[in-house]
């Protein structure tokens, strides 16, 4: 083994949740390793600027991120940045993690584990969504925050919830041109969410400013519409948009909008694969974004020594994630017989208040059933393996009625992304076609490695003579 590390607490993911969990556990006097695949802590929402940015104006997100990064740097937390986690194992009471650092295998042993793996985006498949120039909405925010680059010269920002408006505002702040905003939500949807938003007057004011700016600048906002087709062969040249009914089924005449880039996203889905590999049971909760690890408010799971927090435990937003991270830090400290000073009921109250706001945003972002009807038989669901909705429909009709069965029979989910970008749409289609609820169609079994990793990086430098070859099988 090239490198073996040992710690009390391993925290997976250095976003608002994982960062605060790590800081808390370290303040309790525990040795903490914070594992993250990005170069800087902050996660997706509090993402740091990339190496190519020497100076730039700050935003609320960049300030929150800088603060977290400064706290981690000043703490005793061992931040393993630019490190890929590929495997989680249980050996007796201890956890053993397979990491890859600079192409070299490293094993990290820990007494307790905090999984703060965050979220990924649900992008509603529509005809043409694989065309170059189509970015995920959350993906676009990474481009805007890290690289401070806009997606194109004329961008359609489409999708649900607050992220469309944040993205449009950021494109404008960085000098880009927003061609149109297309959102299935209506003004009435937002009015209904307003009471839950009153707990965050800062965000409310910011949102109001975005809306006023868009109105003044004449950016058209297509409320109650969906982007239903991407136009362009090898690059985006525009999109079709449809008005929707209250179930978000296309209703009414289509219109075309020219653009060279599209940002498309329909809410977030918890990344649960790491928790699944750690043996955590999962349950389906649409209010939290779908399948979530079974855990309480403080992130405690039924698995001894395993805690989960942040969006990976259910989509509640960055503010709630930070508080839940602190709570999970306290939980893991207690589990190891230590105590984090200054974490108490006040934290839990703040967490619940922030979570209420986050859940209101999750509810706004969650696609309604009719949106799936944007998919036609030729629409690609599994981008990696090119599996279409029509092929999936046939496989289901032939009896493949679980995510594992469609994965085996069709290869959807067997490609390099591991099903991350098709699973939600695939299990939804299985559920609808077989008359079951989404909660009755679990995702496929999680398998290592959590990201594709070079074989040589896993094998390391084991010499042939040192291979532990057991005695041959019976003749």
């Amino acid at each position: 083994m090239t490198g073996d590390l040992d710690t009390d607490v391993a925290v997976l993911g250095a976003g608002p949740a994982g960062g605060n969990a790590a800081l808390g556990a370290a303040r309790a006097g525990l040795r903490v390793a914070l594992v993250d695949e990005q170069q800087d802590a902050g996660g997706q929402v509090w993402r740091a600027k990339g190496k190519a940015i020497r100076a730039a104006p700050e935003t609320p997100e960049s300030r929150a991120g800088s603060q977290l990064r400064a706290l981690i740097a000043a703490s005793a937390v061992d931040h393993l940045a630019d490190t890929r986690l590929w495997q989680i194992e249980r050996h007796g009471p201890a956890w053993r993690l397979g990491l890859l650092q600079g192409g070299e295998p490293v094993q990290l042993t820990a007494r307790a584990l905090v999984v703060a793996s965050g979220a990924r985006e649900f992008v509603q498949p529509v005809p043409g969504w694989t065309t170059p120039g189509v970015l995920g909405l959350a993906g676009a925010t990474a481009l805007l925050k890290r690289d401070m680059v806009v997606p194109g010269a004329a961008t359609i920002v489409a999708g649900t919830g607050p992220l469309v408006f944040f993205t449009a505002a950021e494109i404008r702040r960085l000098g880009g041109h927003v061609q149109a905003i297309v959102t299935p939500n209506t003004r009435a949807d937002w009015m209904r969410a307003l009471p839950a938003m009153l707990v965050r007057p800062d965000l409310l004011a910011r949102g109001a400013r975005w809306m006023a700016d868009l109105a003044l600048s004449g950016v058209p906002i297509h409320w109650g519409h969906a982007l239903s087709r991407v136009i362009g062969e090898d690059r985006v040249v525009g999109a079709e948009v449809h008005p929707l009914d209250s179930d978000w089924r296309p209703a009414g005449p289509v219109r075309e909008i020219a653009a060279d880039s599209l940002c498309l996203g329909n809410g977030l889905v918890p990344s649960i694969e790491a928790a699944q590999l750690a043996g955590c049971p999962i349950r389906h909760d649409p209010a939290l974004g779908g399948w979530v690890p079974d855990a309480d408010d403080e992130g405690k799971t039924p698995v001894d020594g395993l805690f989960v927090c942040g969006d990976g435990a259910g989509i509640r937003g960055a503010a709630a994630a930070a508080y839940q991270g602190s709570l999970a830090g306290q939980g893991v400290a207690r589990f190891l017989g230590a105590q984090v000073p200054g974490i108490g009921p006040r934290h839990l109250r703040r967490y619940r208040r922030a979570a209420a706001f986050g859940r209101a945003m999750t509810a706004l972002s969650a696609p309604r059933p009719g949106l799936s009807s944007l998919i036609d038989d030729a629409t690609v669901l599994c981008r990696c393996e090119g599996v279409t909705s029509g092929a999936l429909r046939q496989a289901i009709a032939a009896g493949a009625t679980s995510a594992n069965a469609t994965k085996s029979g069709l290869r959807c989910g067997m490609g390099p992304c591991g099903g991350a970008y098709c699973q939600t749409a695939v299990t939804r289609q299985i559920a609808v076609s077989t008359g079951r609820s989404e909660g009755e169609v679990p995702p496929p079994t999680a398998r290592p490695p959590l990201r594709p990793v070079p074989l040589g990086g896993l094998a390391g430098d084991i010499a042939y003579e040192d291979l532990p070859i057991p005695k041959p099988a019976p003749l």
């Binding site: 495997q87 194992e89 053993r96 397979g98 295998p105 094993q107 496989a395 032939a398 009896g399 493949a400 009625t401 679980s402 594992n404 069965a405 085996s408 029979g409 290869r411 067997m414 490609g415 390099p416 591991g418 079994t445 398998r447 290592p448 490695p449 594709p452 990793v453 070079p454 074989l455 040589g456 896993l458 094998a459 390391g460 084991i462 042939y464 291979l467 532990p468 070859i469 057991p470 041959p472 099988a473 019976p474 003749l475």
Partner: protein, 366 residues
């Protein structure tokens, strides 16, 4: 109450499904029950190797017939007869290979030894460290992922009902009929066949039978699509490596390295301390694999009994109750031994003998 089935088969893997098809052909009404999906146990997650070179000598007649079954199943199961090489890298391994392949050849497998020159002409990406290599033109592979889809189609065409996600929680017998309790209700059948692989032991215990079934936890990995690196199935003298490149360019790497876990606790787990040497061995054999990305590693439970011969016959002490499983090389032999099992249940004459589940497992001969 509806009429009982002629037979209930517990376990929808290759052996259970192949038996069901034979029985349906013989006029029996059968039903298959599986705790998960069809063909998602060992039948669906093994590496798909069809190699006579790694079969046990006493099972060679079954394996030869198994190969013919797979060939007949053809494209629907992703069958490819590519030929296969088994490699030795040290003098000891070469001696082991010589000794074993001679016995297997005597048992009917068309195995010969090839020169390094011939080997590298056919497989130019192999490391130039090979000490000896045997070849068998019969060898190849099928795509285990397709097992479930294949048998769903065959069973539907044959009119055999199958019930997925129906774990059998209890079995009892009243007035000559077996009652199988499942979440979807009680299934009644005049006969019963247990074909649940690594889950046979808890299943048989419902009938008061203790089968000494244990499970191996075999690890398999797959790479991203690669340019052409291998044309045939590659094995290692010790049996600890199987490797093949699929038509889509992905490479499948197996060899029976052991993961962790128990069948009753769900799926098994990959272990770094066995996966890493498994991959290191693959890289030793094909150095270009160092840069290939691994997309997935997984495990499958392979059932066996202490003498490593099949359980195939009547359950001891019971009437109209049968068991089929624990076949070493079960993927290869499964479609054939399923037919034999069907013939036994139908009261037909058997082409080859089966393996008495009531035998003394401490002896080395079945």
């Amino acid at each position: 109450m509806s009429a009982p089935f002629d037979i209930a088969i517990v376990g929808g893997g290759i052996m259970g499904c192949a038996t069901a098809l034979r029985l349906a052909d013989g006029g029996m009404t059968a039903v298959i029950l599986d705790q998960g999906d069809l063909g998602q146990g060992a039948s669906g997650v093994n590496a798909g190797t069809l190699s006579l070179q790694i079969k046990r000598v006493a099972l060679m007649p079954y394996a030869l017939r198994g190969h013919r079954e797979w060939q007949a199943m053809g494209d629907a199961v992703g069958f490819h007869r590519t030929g296969g090489y088994t490699l030795a890298f040290t003098a000891d391994e070469a001696a082991l290979l010589q000794e074993r392949q001679a016995l297997k050849a005597a048992a009917g497998a068309p195995i010969s030894f090839v020169s390094p020159n011939e080997l590298f002409t056919h497989e130019p990406h192999l490391a130039r460290k090979v000490a000896a290599a045997s070849f068998c033109a019969e060898d190849g592979y099928a795509n285990a992922s397709l097992t479930g889809a294949y048998y769903r189609a065959r069973l539907s065409a044959a009119g055999v009902p199958y019930r997925e996600r129906q774990e059998v929680r209890d079995i009892s017998r009243t007035q000559g009929t077996y009652d199988l309790v499942t979440p979807g209700g009680t299934i009644r059948a005049r006969r019963i066949l247990l074909a649940a692989g690594a889950w046979l032991r808890p299943l048989a215990s419902h009938l008061g039978v203790d089968l000494p079934v244990r499970a191996r936890v075999n690890t398999v990995s797959v790479t991203e699509r690669q340019p052409p690196l291998l044309g045939s199935v590659i094995g290692h003298a010790t049996g600890l490596l199987t490797m093949k490149q699929k038509p889509n360019g992905t490479l499948l790497i197996g060899g029976g390295w052991q993961g962790a876990g128990q069948p009753q606790d769900g799926r098994g787990q990959v272990r770094m301390d066995t996966l890493r040497p498994n991959l290191a061995l693959a890289q030793h054999v094909v150095p270009a694999l160092a840069k290939a990305r691994i997309l997935r590693s997984w495990t499958g439970f392979e059932a066996n009994v202490p003498d490593f011969y099949p359980l195939a016959g009547s359950l001891p002490g019971l009437e109209d109750a049968f068991v089929l499983g624990c076949v070493r090389g079960g993927y290869t032999i499964g479609p054939y031994i399923g037919k034999l099992m069907g013939d036994l249940i139908l009261g037909r004459e058997l082409e080859l003998p089966l393996f008495d589940p009531g035998r003394d497992f401490e002896r080395t001969d079945p």
